[in-house]
Symmetry: C2
Subunit: 411 residues, 2 copies
């Protein structure tokens, strides 16, 4: 039986960062909703943001910060309010929080990276947040407890925090050094990242310029956070931020260290993607969808997304129903880029069993397929018979619980 | 309070057609599952079929029939089995039913139009169907009872049959004649028609060539059946068939009759679309979505479909939750054809209240908006501020009941 990675017991801390969280009264529940990550010596930054044209105020502010190649001293995140569709007021509220945090750290507002997540269209209570900043800053610590507090405070409908970390040894002409990559994420609904996803914070103590970091971040995300979907809705607040403190003393200049860092970033992002999907709203079954033999990676992704967003396919999965006809019908309605997909070349597998051969029914053990689908994680493989490209896509079933969670969020 | 049209008490019968249904044991429930519509003097035909590249056997056979401009003597429909993804066997099973029915009517197999609807990937029991044909044919009658029997036998997860009819008077140089248009449809899930939808049968007693019928059919569908969606899944069996018997004595040659016929067809199709959406699987609320001020009709449709297929928007509607932020987020992630939609020009209305002004929150009476959304039918208006094109799109909420219905269909 396969299973997905959960948040680990042991968290490896990169040097140069400290973390904290407090309750600022943004969430009605009174739970912690304001989080801080600080790089005491500053950090270089790379980031990816939502492709949604309705972008939240902190996304606009964060985008400007990163595009100027600026350094980041601290990240301030609130949950319970997305600060989106709040117009000029929203931008000003966001800037006010950055200015206040900058003042307390003795740095310009442009060194504070803001994030928000929660309901859209409600004014951000900037004053309440600013009033809590001294307490938040005083509470920071470079400890596992700090990381867990941060991870807990940024969640909304998540049932658990998402944390992953990897440590590796980099040896260069300058000697041998340990480098650590730590990732923290939130997200359980509105999950269909487009080049970025949700709120994901990656921290490393390697030294790297923003220009060196950006391609590493994009590559790691392409194979992890960009290959998953819970409900096909792309959030207005999606943000992935990578901060490098340089505190380990190692730099990414040499090729071997860069490769190891890339692998570590990808591993952390894949673990976070698995944690996010398995904690998806109302999710009972996670599906690892392998779309193979496509003409291009884009084609494989298109097919994977069409299957993963079909309400009929997702509800069949909720019932552990091996109704492969719905998967085939979803493949059939894909707008394939160049020439149409030929259904008579399509093979579908549930677990290790072939359930559809050359686009038509074939004999299979239905009970076994049902048992496979009833597991917490099930592999489904769709072969298109057109080429050599493949994608591994993480997705979920659609349950009555998802409907319940989302039918009364704001009222 | 607005409401949608239901199937009428009184059915107007076009001349030249008779109808019947029997139980052939395809449905496990033992309910009627085999239906017949016969044009005793034959009829000209126009049809639209699914754009899904996985097309059922009867779609392939019917497409060939219509493309050769052939006449139709009878339509034979079974429910409970889609005869899709059944390969060469499926085509042969379909042809066998047509051959047998043709023999009984004394016409070539090519004058029998076949349809199937139900589960994908299961072999069609052609022998059982053929054995029931004599009883089916003997039972036919040109009566309301016959029409109702036909409409009941073609349903699957529908909770009620869908019937609409219109009668109008055409006066030409040849005198004044009454012309009738009757429509019968089925469908409650896998509803996102692409140029055709589900199973829809339109009967008229006007005289018209296949070439005259086709553009009338397409136009009527574009403004009705192609502007609705329940779950965004396009069926493999979608078929709209229009048959013209000519039995009224009137012909569509003159412009006025053609215009009246076009209006009658559109009215019948719109009524059927409303009946289908309001009987959608698990549907509690029907949403009439008006997307206005788009650059083109295609752009308006794209925005309408993106909103209508968002699981988060649909679940908010299920809870009568005026969470307009999710609608705005869906607009923001549309792949607008030429240049991006500017959120700051977007207005959103729930009922008659504006809830989002220029892409940002505005004060509104939340209780009133909640009350509007709690009605069986609610109007939502999205204005893009880009042009003069608009679309009226019928869609539904996404409820836990939809999940329940679709989580155990085949098992």
């Amino acid at each position: 039986m396969t299973s997905l990675r959960r948040s680990p017991e042991k968290i490896r801390l990169p040097l140069g960062f400290s973390f904290s969280a407090v309750a600022a009264g943004i969430k009605v529940s009174g739970r912690p909703d304001l989080a801080l990550a600080e790089a005491s010596g500053g950090a270089t930054a790379a980031a990816l943001f939502t492709k949604n044209r309705v972008a939240a105020a902190p996304v606009e502010v964060g985008r400007a910060l990163v595009s100027t190649g600026g350094r980041v001293r601290a990240v301030v995140v609130n949950s319970g309010n997305a600060n989106c569709a709040t117009g000029r007021d929203g931008i000003q509220a966001c800037q006010r929080v950055c200015r206040e945090a900058g003042k307390l750290f003795g740095v310009p507002a442009a060194e504070i990276f803001p994030s928000s997540t929660g309901i859209i269209g409600v004014r951000l209570p900037a004053q309440n947040i600013c009033a809590k900043l001294p307490e938040l800053i005083a509470a920071r610590s470079a400890s596992q407890r700090g990381v867990r507090a941060f991870a807990h405070a940024i969640v909304t409908t998540d049932t658990r925090p998402k944390i992953a970390s990897v440590r590796f040894r980099a040896s260069s002409t300058e000697g041998s050094t340990e480098i650590t990559v730590l990732g923290i994420a939130k997200g359980a609904g509105m999950i269909h990242p487009q080049l970025a996803t949700l709120l994901v914070y990656l921290f490393t103590d390697v030294g790297a310029s923003a220009r060196e970091l950006q391609p590493l971040l994009r590559e790691a995300c392409d194979h992890s956070l960009n290959c998953m979907s819970i409900d096909g809705d792309t959030s207005t607040n999606d943000t992935v931020l990578l901060l490098a403190s340089g505190a380990s003393g190692a730099r990414v200049r040499d090729v071997r260290t860069r490769k190891k860092l890339s692998a570590a970033l990808t591993e952390v992002c894949q673990s976070l993607a698995e944690q996010i999907v398995s904690d998806g709203e109302g999710v009972q079954h996670v599906i690892r969808l392998f779309v193979e033999q496509a003409r291009s990676r884009e084609e494989a992704l298109l097919v994977a997304r069409t299957i993963a967003h079909s309400m009929l396919v997702k509800t069949a999965w909720a019932g552990a129903d091996p109704n492969w006809g719905r998967i085939l019908a979803a493949v059939g309605r894909c707008d394939a880029p160049i020439d149409p997909i030929d259904p008579s070349r399509v093979q579908i597998f549930i677990g290790s069993q072939k359930v559809c051969r050359n686009g038509i029914a074939c004999a299979f053990n239905e009970r076994q397929a049902h048992r496979n689908l009833a597991q917490p994680v099930c592999d489904i493989r769709v072969q298109l018979g057109r080429g050599r490209h493949a994608v591994r896509f993480l997705t979920t079933d659609l349950t009555a619980e998802y409907v319940r969670i989302n039918a009364d969020y704001s009222t």
